[in-house]
């Protein structure tokens, strides 16, 4: 039975036709995957369904009845809940408050809110106090809290816009369990993800969008065909990485690095980390959520102060006190959270892309706009960033294209060591292949790459070596081809029982 | 702390508190200076640091209450406004602390002495001077203090009463200059643009009159216009000097009452009789008497 029908949906933004005559139907208990390149219009379509946009073209029918959806409240009344691509939680409020936000009783019933929250969290395998503030939760935890929030409502249609972009495998499996429970109860699920292997596992049907248009749908997942539909052209190799080829000198050496943690902001402590990266080498960092991968990269980038240990860069001692000093030494960090850590969302593409390399375009005291624009333009073209112009506001780009702007920013600094934290998070397959190719190129041109990722296939295919982190320690190191997913996961869960 | 008592029961050391409405006005700074100066004559009287209410009645009420808490032997109050301080003065009165109300009144009889100038009278004197300066009539502009302030109301009232003597004298414009020099200048500039003929500027205080003077001087009209101010402070930047320099035609000394207050406090503390109402006159400052008056009131170097 059809639960949801969207007909001839259209939507324009100033300068952008985001959607044009898109149809979508979803049946009871069905999981429909929405697939498309970055900027194809997936989030826009779903935002319309969730009442984020007041005006749009076309009609929406829910359970056969025409529905007006012009505000999140109306959407909720129709039983539509959405997990947004960008996390939308209130940092200063507790988990319980966030989950029930907008649906509380006039006088709060804390006890039952917290009890219900604890129950929901347990269902997702999260062992957190309902009173914990969101700002103290890690990003992966926040993503699961968003899921819990959606589940707490009485839903008929659940939209999940890249719910797994920050999740590691174990959490993803748990999420699948939750989805199966829901569909068994007749809930319709619309699932957006750029991880094709996920679709194979969970989706009953795949709908493909391109440039705001409905391209087609399939009920079996044929990888190559879907990619062809999405991108409109055959794709190069997904993991273009020649074997071996790491003959360069040692560029980065970390010895016995320890960094204190901070429970107040959910920061893991690092303990006695030692590693090396050679020029021309891609080294991967694997681990479960909260293992300390981000902390490791951030510490090398001068964000946190180590309490012990030493780092050397190209043979010289290296003790960065700030990211600025790291950048001056030729280090770049593609941070994990592009919205919070990488972009000034209200400013333009060129502003963001040139921010770290402005020194290169100075003529006397002023920034030479022409040279700046030329350099950014080249980089934007090379990375195939889809933007209406260099002066377009970054915040209005699609997520994947925002990520590419971040990459452009760091490439413009011409670093010798690039630290990448989840570089392909939220990136479509086409762009992913491009970024992988870029990593290979960087390595080939003698740069050192240290990449943390939750996508094991990516690490396995791209890295010359993989380090595994667990609770802030390195628990294993595998050479290329030296380990499968199981071995890595085992090392990632090698928790130590007793510690200081 | 219990003040030590001498054998006769009379104290040998007295503590006096003074609550000033706003220290940051030159006139009041001068008052403070003079009060400290004149109280030096009485070595058995100690004046606590002067409390500044910064133009806030609420602040001043709690300051008065502070002094009551400290059990001062006498209290001097220069109220920001009459009504708000009334209850506070009554509280002091109830605590058997003699109160001298300086400069502005309160709405109660429960004080020991009032010392202050008469703003209506000063306004009247200023008006009479205007009548004298404009025998054939003329156009007057008036720069007022903050409109709701009592001195503003009185200085306006007296002035208008006096110029009624010559119906050919007309106030063609009046605006609130908030007692401030820098407010007066642009207002005067606008008036000069609007009115081809201005004969006299009446400023409710000297800074405003001088601010207007600056504007007129810039427009090359300072010679044709007469300026009258009020306050007559004996400081380098004050009204007496301005009269001496010919910038103001006249100013009228608004008496601080500091000397009278010092004497009255002394009498009260030693149990002598004082006049309950001590209304002070004013002195017109003209070019002739300016140097002499300046010397008389100048306290720089004496404190």
């Amino acid at each position: 039975m059809t639960v949801l029908e969207m007909r001839a949906i259209g939507k324009s933004f100033p300068g952008v036709r985001a959607l044009d005559g898109v149809n979508l139907t979803v049946g009871e208990g069905e999981v429909v995957a929405l697939l498309g390149e970055n900027g194809a219009g997936k989030s826009t379509l779903m935002n319309i369904l969730a009442g984020v946009f007041k005006d749009y073209e076309g009609e929406i029918e829910i359970a056969g009845e025409p529905a007006r959806v012009h505000s999140p409240k109306e959407a909720a009344r129709h039983g539509i809940a959405m997990i947004h691509q960008e996390l939308n939680l209130v940092p200063e409020l507790s988990i319980a408050d966030n989950i029930f936000l907008g649906r509380e009783r006039a006088i709060l019933d804390r006890k039952s809110m917290e009890a219900r929250t604890a129950e929901l969290l347990r269902g997702l395998g999260l062992d957190l106090s309902p009173r914990r503030l969101i700002k103290q939760c890690k990003i992966a935890e926040r993503q699961l809290i968003e899921v819990a929030k959606a589940l707490s409502q009485n839903v008929r249609v659940l939209v999940m816009d890249e719910p797994t972009s920050a999740l590691a495998d174990a959490e993803v499996q748990r999420l699948y369990g939750v989805i199966r429970d829901l569909t068994a109860r007749g809930v319709a699920v619309i699932y957006i993800s750029h991880r094709l292997e996920e679709l194979e596992e969970i989706a009953d049907r795949v709908v493909v969008l391109r440039d705001g248009r409905h391209i087609g749908e399939r009920s079996t997942v044929d990888r190559d065909e879907l990619i062809q539909m999405m991108v409109g052209r055959p794709l190069g190799e997904m993991f273009p990485r020649a074997n071996g080829g790491s003959e360069g000198d040692e560029l980065l050496r970390v010895e016995g690095l320890s960094v204190p943690g901070d429970p107040a902001v959910g920061r893991t402590a690092l303990r006695g980390i030692s590693l090396t990266v050679r020029a021309g080498e891609i080294v991967g960092v694997a681990g479960l959520m909260g293992a300390g991968r981000s902390e490791l990269l951030e510490s090398i980038f001068g964000v946190h102060r180590p309490s012990e240990g030493s780092i050397s860069l190209a043979g010289a001692p290296y003790r960065p006190k700030s990211p600025k000093q790291a950048i001056d030494r030729g280090v770049a960090l593609v941070a994990e959270d592009r919205k919070a850590q990488s972009l000034v969302l209200g400013n333009s593409v060129v502003f963001n892309a040139s921010l770290s390399s402005l020194g290169r375009y100075l003529r006397l005291w002023r920034v030479d706009r022409r040279r700046e624009s030329a350099a950014v333009e080249r980089q934007v073209r090379d990375l195939r960033v889809k933007t209406p112009g260099l002066r377009f506001t970054v915040g209005n780009l699609s997520g994947g294209n925002q990520q590419k702007v971040v990459l452009a920013k760091w490439l413009l600094t011409e670093p010798s060591l690039i630290l990448m934290d989840e570089p392909t998070r939220g990136i479509d397959v086409g762009a992913k292949a491009e970024i992988h190719a870029l990593m290979s190129e960087l390595a080939a041109s003698g740069k050192a790459v240290l990449v943390a990722s939750s996508e094991l296939p990516e690490l396995l295919a791209m890295c010359d070596r993989i380090l595994v982190l667990c609770e802030g320690r390195i628990t294993a190191e595998f050479p290329r081809g030296g380990a499968g997913q199981e071995a890595i996961l085992e090392a990632a869960m090698a928790r130590q029982q007793v510690t200081t | 702390p219990t003040p030590s008592a001498s054998a006769g029961g009379a104290k040998d050391k007295f503590v006096v508190g003074y609550s000033q409405s706003n220290n940051a006005e030159p006139y009041r700074a001068q008052l403070n200076l003079q009060l400290k100066h004149f109280l030096k004559k009485y070595p058995d009287i100690e004046l606590l640091p002067i409390a500044d209410a910064k133009q806030s009645s609420a602040t001043q009420v709690s300051q008065v209450q502070n002094f009551i808490t400290q059990k001062v032997d006498a209290l001097i109050v220069s109220p920001t406004e009459p009504a708000p301080l009334t209850a506070a003065v009554e509280q002091a009165c109830a605590a058997k602390i003699p109160v001298i109300v300086l400069d502005r009144t309160v709405n109660t009889d429960c004080f020991t002495a009032f010392i202050g100038g008469d703003n209506v009278l000063i306004g009247k004197k200023a008006g009479e001077e205007a009548v004298k300066l404009l025998p054939d009539g003329g156009n007057v502009v008036e720069l007022r203090g903050i409109l709701s302030n009592q001195p503003q109301i009185d200085r306006d009232k007296g002035f208008r009463e006096a110029i009624a003597a010559n119906p050919k004298i007309k106030i063609i414009a009046d605006r609130e200059g908030k007692w401030l020099k820098e407010q007066a200048t642009p207002i005067m500039q606008q008036w000069l643009a609007q009115h081809p003929k201005i004969d006299l500027v009446y400023g409710h205080n000297d800074p405003m009159a001088l601010g207007a003077y600056l504007a007129a001087q810039a427009a090359g009209k300072a010679e044709q216009i007469k300026f009258i101010g009020i306050d007559g402070l004996a400081i380098p930047d004050g009204g007496i000097r301005a009269v001496q320099l010919g910038q103001l035609s006249s100013t009228f000394i608004y008496p601080t009452g500091a000397q009278e207050a010092a004497d009255t406090v002394n009498k009260i503390l030693h149990g002598r009789q004082v006049d309950k109402q001590q209304v002070l006159g004013t002195t017109q400052v003209s070019k002739d008497n300016a140097p002499e008056l300046y010397k008389q009131y100048d306290l720089s170097g004496q404190n």
């Binding site: 200063e92 936000l101 907008g102 | 220290n23 640091p49 400290q70 708000p84 209850a87």
Partner: protein
Amino acid sequence: MTLATTESRTRRTLSALGAAQAYIGLVLILAVGIATKGEMFLNETNLTNAVGAFASRGILAVGVTLVILTGGIDLSVGSLLGIASMTAAMMLSKYSLEPWQIVPICMVVGAFFGFLNGAGTTWLRIQSFVMTLAMLSVVRGLDRQVSDNVSVGTQIAGPDGKLTPQAEAFQLFGTPGHNLFDRVYYPVLAFVVVCVVFHLILAKTRFGRHVYAVGGNPTAARLSGVNVTAVTIAVFTLSGLLAGFAGPIDAAYSASADPQAGQSYELDAIAAAVIGGASLAGGKGTIAGTFVGALILTLLDNVLGLNAVSDNWQLVIKGLIVVVAVVLQRPDLFKFLRGGSRS
């Protein structure tokens, strides 16, 4: 396991300390007051006087805290208090209304202008700083116009030369020396009650959650079905309502309504909220904090006054102590002193 318990214990201790620290600034001032002036400082009359002088500004601070929590600012509260105090004095002197009739009228007046602030910031989408600054000016102009720039006394005498019963009763709103049941000074009571009521509203009701959500992350709030516009209008209206409520207190305290009454109170009110830990970025702050902030400001004044510090130095010392108090209140003070890294 052991790790987890150690950490959670540390965390609990830290957060308890955090709560204690919020009051360190206040404790410090109390200590200085007691150390320097002992009895003279620490007695009911003095403390009542001190808090009473600040009560109307304290009430404004509560309303301003609501607005700040949503990420806005309200500069108009001083003017609103002014027009409400003028309304009260006029109702009393012209129409001899009873005090219990006057207060609701003043609250309606305040709420009306507060509502306009809210409407301007939401429907016209004007930054609250500009909207309320404009309102400050407009309302002050109206206040001065209706009063004809003359202050209106509240101690109205009847034909017998004594105060009218209404005027007599009106004094209970805060004329120094007039207490409810000869015991309770109304401004202090009103301030405390307002704090308690709004603490409960913020901590216990749906509306309170929504206020925090709107300030903490307006997009998230909107997507969760919170009516951001309604909440914003509501906090401005409540801020106006409280300014209206404080008006009669101010009028009774001064036994008159001055056309200038309340001028620059907004700075004191905002300062109380911010010293109490509210963040002008929105989403962070509590009424308890604002209460402490108000006490810090008023007791600081009191202590400096009792110690007969000269007024010029008072300004200097006050500024310095506010800085010290705010630094002491940092929940991560100890870490900060140890020179910990930035979060």
